[in-house]
């Protein structure tokens, strides 16, 4: 939402909502996603899972303030570059001035039109960068070198996330007025179907392939060690996601309210869809299924949150719940160890929502889509938007998968990706962090080392 307004006029209501959204979206990574994933791993690697999430927040937060924001929302350097903004334009937030939004250099806020200061936009968007990187940890549980993960977070955020955020939200290739918008129609990605979920899902797949299977998978049982953690994490994600989706409107207006409702509705239906699929297939409606269904629904409605009416949200939620519940089985068929189903939930859920927009996008019932986008096929808009959505989704899959694979290969060659086998068998928590999560009888501390 770039603005060319002449004078910046602070809107305290909008700013308050955006600051609040930024806080609850941060909650989605720490603690929500960390514990959602942490409960699903085994006792011996829960600390490493939590740590990979917490350090992703630490590293990406810091990188975002240095050059991330500038790459995502800065100005492109040349006419043919529609991929990323100039990393040095707002390096260290240098030159950002929230009080003089007049389109001149150094005064750019993507939320200026809502009267929201640039610094709030920086704060809101950093929480998105953090969670997108953190989502990948689910694919690499139990086995990645901690230092290599840290290096990966810096490289991946810089080479994959910041450019894709620019392309979709910063006025680049896939955004309003970008190449696709001029030649076809504007891709609809309200809160991050391509930028966050397809992106992270494809990256998780690439990294899981590079890392290889966990020792013993799939023969050895790897039962989630704490399902209440998983349930708690999923519930906190659900709550935080209202900041993610309704906050993505950039203002406390009616579209934010519509996005809030769509987010809630799709999630309710997705949980029911997942549980029904499980009940029919496996005989039980499980707590892990409920938690997973919640996340699948949230993922799928993310790109579509603003542009659905009530019926559209229900279709998106139901499709996500059922399709993701089915998709989590594909890793066994293809033999890649995406440990906690980043592909099955985030890639499949992200694709589901992004592509269904092509059928269901509307501006009925208070829904909204950006300039240059069209109504979906079922709402009389023809097939153009569907083609656009498929193209945008395919672009995100290929862009993220290929670049992630390259980044992974480079780190593998320089430092290695995987911990030694002996360490993995004994548990990554003890070997990498020198701690164990639980005070069990077998691991009682006997004395302090002098």
């Amino acid at each position: 939402m770039a603005s060319t307004a002449n004078a910046f006029c602070l809107n305290t209501g909008n700013n308050a909502w955006m600051l609040t959204s930024a806080v609850i979206v941060l909650m989605m990574t720490v603690p929500a996603l960390a514990f959602f994933y942490g409960g699903m791993v085994r006792t011996r690697s829960v600390l490493n899972m939590l740590m990979m999430n917490y350090i992703a927040a630490g590293i990406v937060g810091f990188v975002w303030l240095l050059w991330g924001y500038s790459m995502a929302f800065g100005t492109e350097t040349t006419g043919i570059n529609q991929f990323f903004g100039n990393p040095f334009q707002f390096f260290g937030l240098n030159g950002l001035n929230e009080t003089a939004i007049d389109g001149s250099a150094g005064s750019f806020s993507p939320l200026a039109a809502s009267g929201v200061p640039a610094f709030t936009a920086v704060a809101f968007q950093v929480t998105f960068a953090v969670i997108t990187v953190a989502l990948i940890t689910g694919a690499i549980a139990d086995r990645m070198k901690f230092g290599s993960w840290i290096a990966f977070t810096v490289l991946w955020a810089t080479i994959v996330y910041f450019p894709l955020a620019h392309m979709v939200w910063g006025g680049g290739l896939l955004g309003v007025g970008g190449f696709v918008s001029r030649h076809l129609s504007t891709p609809i990605d309200f809160a991050g179907g391509t930028v966050v979920h397809i992106d992270a899902g494809a990256a998780g797949l690439a990294l899981a392939l590079l890392l290889g299977k966990r020792k013993g998978w799939p023969k050895e049982p790897m039962r989630p060690h704490n399902l209440p953690y998983v349930m708690l994490g999923a519930a906190l994600l659900w709550v935080g996601w209202f900041g993610f989706n309704a906050g993505s409107e950039g203002a406390a207006d009616g579209v934010a309210s519509r996005a809030w409702l769509n987010t809630f509705l799709a999630t309710c239906v997705a949980m029911i869809g997942w549980l029904a699929t499980e009940k029919i297939r496996d005989g039980h409606a499980t707590s892990l299924g409920a938690a997973s269904g919640i996340v699948a629904g949230l993922v799928a409605i993310t790109p579509a949150a603003s542009s659905m009416d009530t019926w559209g949200s229900i279709v998106v939620g139901l499709a996500a719940g059922v399709l993701c519940a089915i998709a989590i089985g594909i890793k066994y068929r293809f033999g890649f160890d995406d440990a906690l189903d980043v592909v099955g939930v985030h890639l499949v859920g992200g694709l589901t929502g992004t592509i269904l927009i092509g059928f269901l996008a509307t501006n009925n019932q208070g829904a909204w889509f950006p300039a240059g986008a069209k109504k979906g096929l079922l709402y009389g808009g023809g097939g153009t938007q569907l083609v656009t959505q498929i193209l945008a989704a395919a672009f995100a899959v290929v862009f993220s998968f290929v670049l992630t694979y390259v980044i992974g290969r480079i780190i593998k060659a320089v430092a290695g990706l995987r911990i030694p086998e002996a360490v993995e068998v004994g548990g990554i928590d003890l070997a990498v962090h020198g701690e164990s999560a639980y005070d069990t009888i077998g691991a009682r501390i006997s004395s302090e080392v002098e």
Partner: protein, 113 residues
Amino acid sequence: MTKLVTAIIQPHRLDDVKSALEGAGVHGLTVSEASGYGRQRGHTEVYRGAEYTVDLVPKVRIDVLVTDEDAPSIVDVVIQAAQTGKIGDGKVWVTPVDDVARVRTGERGAGAL
């Protein structure tokens, strides 16, 4: 002279067994968490479509030291309190004990019980 009665029971029967033993005059016992299987052969659990067989199921193990003559009746007490009639109720067995000592006083044999 002394016998060790060991019982493996369903965890949810512990409270009943404990009070039944108290009622039968047992002054002390040791309880530990155990896992295992008998004819019951565990159960299956499904996580995101992946089915696991859990054949070592949680049980409670009770160890109690009694005199020779009390042993048969204590076994009966345990059976009565622990029985549900369903598969997986557990086992009780008796083993002879060579010697017993109370750590605090150094008493030996029956006096240490």
